[in-house]
Subunit: 321 residues, 2 copies
């Protein structure tokens, strides 16, 4: 919905596809979805449909706003209708757990017989603030430099500024793995710890996701950019982040199942913690924060114990990757 | 005061020197200073004196906790009494405005005839949280690897974890220049902008102080560490940061003079903005955020205009240093 506003503001003709017919009907009639984006009304020009054929007809740009674990099955429904030579832009920040693939890899899997360009848009961009037209910057990543520039022009306006990057691996990994660190930051906050601990977790967390990223083919400087440190800061500082919120309740002593059962929206970081943990073991990359978050979320380790264990690690030089 | 607690916890014998005789008397009698560290009582074993000779007698470690612009004149009072072969550790996060020198350079200037080791301790470490023994990490930087290790051992304990670095230039510049970005973050918040803008400012801010740092001889990875991104996050996220606070009031429309006249503690970032601006011009390094903060603080530029001008810059690749 937020992206439909950006593109409409920029003069594009946009159609939303909503798979749930009840929600689709509500969007058509009321032009809003209060539980997702309170106070927001869809721009008049935005079309809304439940029919995937209608949504994709004659479209040159397809924006996928689907949670990571559902991307493959959603896209499979659309695969026959995706127009040739279109650009497919992913917004999800996650890793497919079964395959440990990044979103652009999942898209390429499904669309392997299509001639399309695959990109990912990422960065510190809470939808709640985008629709209020607050200054926001993101990065658009893809392998095709010319298409990156085209997307940059399509998305950018006075309140939404898109940078471009050729490092789609780094952009996708940064946007996904940072949610693990956001959960850790939430846990520390839930335990009543302060900003010093937050600074430590974010810095050491950034170092460990960068280490993994480099092994997986990303450039280290990408993690110092908008999709890395920028998104991490926004997520950790924001009271609105769902991942931070899950961590905070864990830190206060609640169990993961209880917390997830009360949330209407998906906290991607929970699933990403599994993927990050698996990747770190598979590639033998030391990721102490990810490991402790994994143990707290899935093995009932007391969160206070995890934080003190992290602090007690052998004294090292700051740069040790 | 906070460092005296750390070192006392670690078994050291510590003497505080307080130049103001009235405050010294209060510290001796009440063991506290409510306007600086509310709720904190000095450990019983910590000595307090107004006499610099007494403070420095037989000391092997001298910790300087003096605001940047006063470091030279304070140290000049002590120069004759600094024991030979001692280690001098600086805590100030600033740049001397008249000379544009870093703190360790100022110390080396004053102590040029002494055989001492000069180090800087920096990182996300609000004193208010250190004295409550909340998990805190810092970096100790100096050119002498053996002394760095010695300091690391002296300072580290269960709640205070010191990493070491050989890049004292990067550590000092990161700790200082990040305050300019903290003011920018405060301005954005005062204007009512959100976390997306915060993420943008912090990321682009980190990029520009890294650019300057590299030109001045620092290593870029230091800015991704505790004294760079770590301290930046803590400062920008924290409601307690004085630099962020100054920015916030500026964003709400107050004038700098009014704000500073109501503060009992020094916001180092205001002076650092002058130094950062001067350094960027002298070395011809593009620092758009620093430039706009400078104009807002010292040339009465409306803060809203500055933010929108930053957003309107020509679209670029993310990595352009």
């Amino acid at each position: 919905m937020a992206v439909s506003q950006i593109l409409t503001d920029n003069g594009a003709s946009v159609t939303l596809w909503e798979f749930d017919s009840k929600i689709c009907k509500q969007l058509v009639e009321e032009r809003k979805q209060e539980d997702k984006l309170p106070g927001f009304k869809l721009p008049e020009k935005v079309g809304v449909t439940n029919l995937i054929d209608e949504a994709l007809e004659n479209k040159s740009l397809i924006v996928l706003a689907v949670p990571a674990q559902y991307l493959r099955q959603s896209l499979l429904k659309a695969v026959d209708r995706i127009p040739e030579n279109s650009i497919v832009v992913n917004l999800a920040k996650g890793i497919e757990n079964k395959t440990l693939k990044r979103m652009s890899e999942v898209i390429t899997d499904v669309l392997k017989d299509k001639n399309v360009t695959v990109s990912t848009l990422s960065g510190p961009s809470h939808a709640e603030e985008v629709v209020r037209r607050m200054p926001t910057t993101v990065v658009i990543a893809g392998k095709n430099e010319r298409k990156n520039e085209q997307l940059q022009e399509l998305f950018s306006n006075s309140y939404f500024r898109a940078y471009k990057s050729s490092d789609i691996i780094g952009v996708e990994l940064g946007g996904s793995l940072k949610n693990i660190i956001a959960i850790a930051a939430g846990i520390a906050s839930g335990l009543g710890l302060g900003d010093n601990t937050l600074g430590a977790l974010v810095t050491r967390g950034l170092a460990e996701i960068t280490r993994l990223g480099i092994v997986l083919g990303a450039k280290s400087e990408t993690f110092a950019g908008l999709s890395g440190v920028g998104d991490l800061i926004t997520t950790c500082a924001s009271r609105h982040s769902r991942n931070r919120y899950v961590g905070e309740r864990i830190g206060k002593g609640e169990k993961l199942d209880e917390i997830l059962s009360t949330m209407t929206m998906i906290a991607e970081g929970v699933e990403t913690t599994r993927a990050g943990f698996d990747l770190s073991r598979m590639h033998e990359v030391e990721m102490p924060i990810t490991k402790e978050v994994y143990k707290v979320l899935f093995e009932n380790k007391p969160p206070g114990e995890a934080v003190w264990e992290l602090m007690g690690r052998e004294l090292k030089s700051e740069v040790w990757r």
